[in-house]
């Protein structure tokens, strides 16, 4: 395993369909060794980025490297990356056992014991055809294939959308254990910020093809603060405090700021920010539902 290489490294990456850019000029580095969450509003380009990183799409512009190699490299490169697409595709006419056999035949590092254990734990009948499985069971089967492949990097596109809460928890636990034991890195996109908060230690917020913010979750939480105090103008804040969102009532102002230093001004009540608030703030949404809250244009 090349620890030096990033999990995903994109430079000026772009994909155009006709005249519409699904992803434009995207430059980002997702370091290896993390469970990295990729969040952003619909249409931000998350799935496009993942499709480019897994070689399902060819870029219109720029380059993308995965674990230091081309996404469409040879069999060795393919063996290092596990991928589960958004709709968790499986072969409708093949049984669960057939799928495991498929994985065993096509992957040199296949862990058959792991695959069988998982199928058993999930209570999937090996003789059942994939078309007879529920959406969640199909997703579990697809995940099992990706896990038993023993990848160095697991790329998941909205993996937990179709899982029930118990399965979701079990699955997230698997991811956390795996990364805790440094078995593999994970890059997953999701809408479920609450789930990401539980499992991700690295976060990338993608808005309109651009990386709004990225970094380790602990760092992000430590450097973002919610300031509440007497009404004042954003311009009057010190330059070290970067205003992400602001809201004002008649007498009171609330700012979500990014600041590397402790907030010294005694006029402020300083509160920590939840990851969900942080993500929503960067996605350009209101962080609280308080009346009179007015969204200002998101500032860099």
């Amino acid at each position: 395993m090349t620890n030096a290489a990033a999990a995903i490294e994109a430079r000026g990456l772009g994909k155009r369909y006709g005249r519409r850019w699904a992803l434009a000029d995207c430059t980002l580095t997702i370091p290896a060794g993390h469970v990295a969450g990729l969040v952003g509003p619909n249409g931000a380009g998350k799935t496009t980025l993942i499709s480019l990183a897994t070689g399902m799409l060819a870029p219109t512009a720029g380059t993308v490297e995965v674990l230091g190699g081309s996404p469409t490299g040879g069999p060795d490169q393919l063996a290092r990356v596990g991928y589960v697409a958004q709709d968790t595709p499986t072969y409708a006419g093949l049984t669960v056992a057939d799928h495991l056999r498929l994985g065993a035949r096509l992957n040199p590092r296949w862990d058959d014991g792991l695959a069988r254990r998982r199928v058993e734990q999930l209570g999937l009948d090996p003789r059942l055809k994939a078309s007879r499985l529920s959406g969640g069971q199909r997703a579990q089967l697809a995940l099992t294939l990706a896990l038993a492949k023993r990848p160095e990097l697991l790329i998941l596109d909205e993996p937990i959308a179709s899982l029930d809460p118990a399965a979701r928890r079990e699955f997230l636990q698997v991811l956390m254990n795996a990364t805790a034991e440094q078995e593999f890195s994970v890059v997953m996109s999701s809408h479920q910020v609450a789930d990401l908060e539980r499992v991700c230690d690295y976060l990338i917020v993608l808005v309109a093809s651009r990386v709004r913010i990225d970094g380790e979750v602990d760092d992000l939480l430590a450097t973002h603060h919610l300031l509440t105090g007497p009404r004042r103008d954003a311009a009057s804040l010190p330059s070290s405090q970067q205003v992400i969102t602001e809201s004002h009532t008649g007498r009171q102002s609330t700012f979500l700021v990014r600041c590397g230093e402790p907030i010294a001004d005694p006029a402020w009540a300083v509160d920590p920010v939840s990851l969900e608030d942080l993500v929503l703030a960067y996605m350009g949404h209101a962080t609280t539902g308080s009346p009179g809250f007015r969204m200002m244009e998101v500032k860099r």
Partner: protein, 365 residues
């Protein structure tokens, strides 16, 4: 990859194997009566002027055998089309439709290998199916085909009372595609065409339709435009005299007088494929109706086999006309079969390369 291809192809393979077994049983059961009729007709000992014996033999065949004979041609035409539409078109298009290519392409197998193993194995199965079918039918219809080869290859030679189509020699375009090794080439090509259409269109149904249209168009064009040139036809030039020419006088109301159509002796090459039979002047130009053959409508009505028409023949005899006949002799059947099979196999391989390149280059979300 071989296992996965086989596992995905298994249902179709079972259907094909079942169909082959049914055909084999049917043919094996009915072959004895065809062979018996042939022996009884005495054709095997005949060397010249055998058309009466041919007629006897063909009339002797029972209705089931006649039905099977027609069925053999129909089935051999349908087989390659079915391979293209039902095996070729869905092979990769269905993966795109179901999104399963994203599962397959993330296994530790390059998609080039994925494409070529799928193409190779199912393509071979198509060739084998078509080849076995053709082998069985060619064996079954052997007596009928060899009886037809006694007939002069004008295409349709009417044998009194017998079905006109029975008079078709193996080299006739209708029969050629249903016998020998050519169906193997057709199956390979149709299959590759189906896969290519599927890769390009990414829709199974559309790919099936396109495969059907293109393959049928090619099957119509090749016998007419390509096959006659695969091997240079034998050309026979016969000088026409008043004695050996035949002519027909046509009333031609546009011109105001009759025109004449001259032809030479009837083509008489057993089992050959007649490509063209034209009568031209010594300089190779089309025949212009001479004065002696220009009659008015009234003259034609009054004339029986009269002196005027004889005059026409006489004049035509002095015009130094030539009959030029081009044909492929019966012995060219197998050379033409192999050449055409090779041609289709090369085309199929070319399409296969296009598929591989397209799958590599074109990435599907």
């Amino acid at each position: 990859m071989i296992w996965l291809t086989w596992r995905q192809f298994r249902p179709q393979a079972i259907v094909a194997a079942g169909a082959l077994v049914v055909v084999a049983i049917l043919l094996a059961a009915s072959r004895a009566s065809v062979g018996g009729a042939y022996t009884a007709s005495g054709l095997s000992a005949c060397h010249a002027n055998c058309s009466t014996l041919v007629a006897t033999f063909l009339l002797d065949l029972n209705p089931l055998d006649r039905f099977l004979w027609l069925g053999s041609i129909l089935l051999m035409y349908l087989t390659p089309v079915a391979m293209g539409a039902f095996w070729g078109a869905p092979l990769i298009a269905r993966e795109f439709e179901a999104g399963t290519h994203r599962l397959a392409w993330n296994q530790s197998v390059t998609r080039t290998r994925w494409t070529f193993v799928k193409l190779g194995l199912v393509g071979l199965a198509s060739c084998a199916t078509a080849g076995l079918l053709s082998l069985m039918w060619t064996w079954w219809a052997g007596p009928i085909d060899s009886a037809a080869s006694f007939l002069h290859g004008q295409g349709h030679v009417n044998v009194a009372g017998a079905n006109a189509a029975f008079g078709l020699t193996r080299l006739d375009p209708v029969m050629f595609a249903a016998r020998g090794v050519a169906p193997v080439g057709y199956a390979a090509f149709a299959f590759a065409l189906g896969v290519t259409a599927g890769v390009l269109l990414r829709r199974t149904l559309a790919a099936m339709a396109v495969t059907l249209v293109i393959f049928i168009a090619i099957q119509v064009l090749v016998p007419n435009l390509v096959r006659p040139h695969l091997l240079p036809p034998v050309q026979v030039t016969t000088p026409l005299t008043a004695r050996n020419l035949t002519f027909a006088v046509n009333e031609n109301l546009n011109v105001g007088h009759s025109t004449v159509q001259v032809s030479g002796p009837n083509f008489a090459q057993p089992g050959a494929w007649l490509i063209s039979d034209v009568t031209v002047t010594s300089s190779g130009a089309a025949v212009v109706t001479p004065k002696a053959c220009q009659f008015t409508l009234a003259e034609l009505r009054n004339a029986g086999p009269g002196a005027e028409l004889l005059g026409c023949r006489k004049v035509l005899g002095t015009m130094r006309l030539r009959q030029i006949v081009s044909y492929e002799p019966a012995s060219r059947f197998w050379p033409l079969q192999w050449i055409e099979t090779g041609l289709y196999l090369v085309l199929a391989a070319g399409l296969g390369l296009v598929c591989g390149w397209q799958v590599r280059r074109r990435r599907v979300p």
